[in-house]
Subunit: 67 residues, 2 copies
């Protein structure tokens, strides 16, 4: 599962710390999400999407590339 958090964050001129504080999660959580270390909970996914005025499906890309 991929996501566009990093691009969206930069588009909004935010640092990882600022985003983490807004979402009330740790900076480590943002780093790990952006780097694809783990998948967010549905609640965090929703909060991130809402913050950037996107749907969950617009921020998180579930489909595997076709083989």
């Amino acid at each position: 599962m991929k996501n566009n958090i990093s691009q969206l964050r930069k588009k909004h001129s935010m640092t990882q710390k600022e985003l983490a504080d807004l979402l009330k999660v740790s900076r480590q959580t943002i780093i790990s999400l952006e780097r694809g270390k783990y998948n967010p909970s549905i609640l965090l996914a929703y909060q991130i999407s809402k913050l950037f005025n996107k749907t969950i499906e617009e921020v998180f890309v579930f489909e595997e590339e076709s083989n």
Copy 2:
């Protein structure tokens, strides 16, 4: 957070066990999700939505009722 899993499942004439098997989770997970005992991971939320040809936002209702 609310969800429409129970209605969607019944609309598709499935038992909890059938849905659990299709999603490759335990029956207990389906029961707990339908009863709102806990929130699904984003991956499970996606799989459920996809199964019913819905978006995550159509199956899972995040907004609180207005007060």
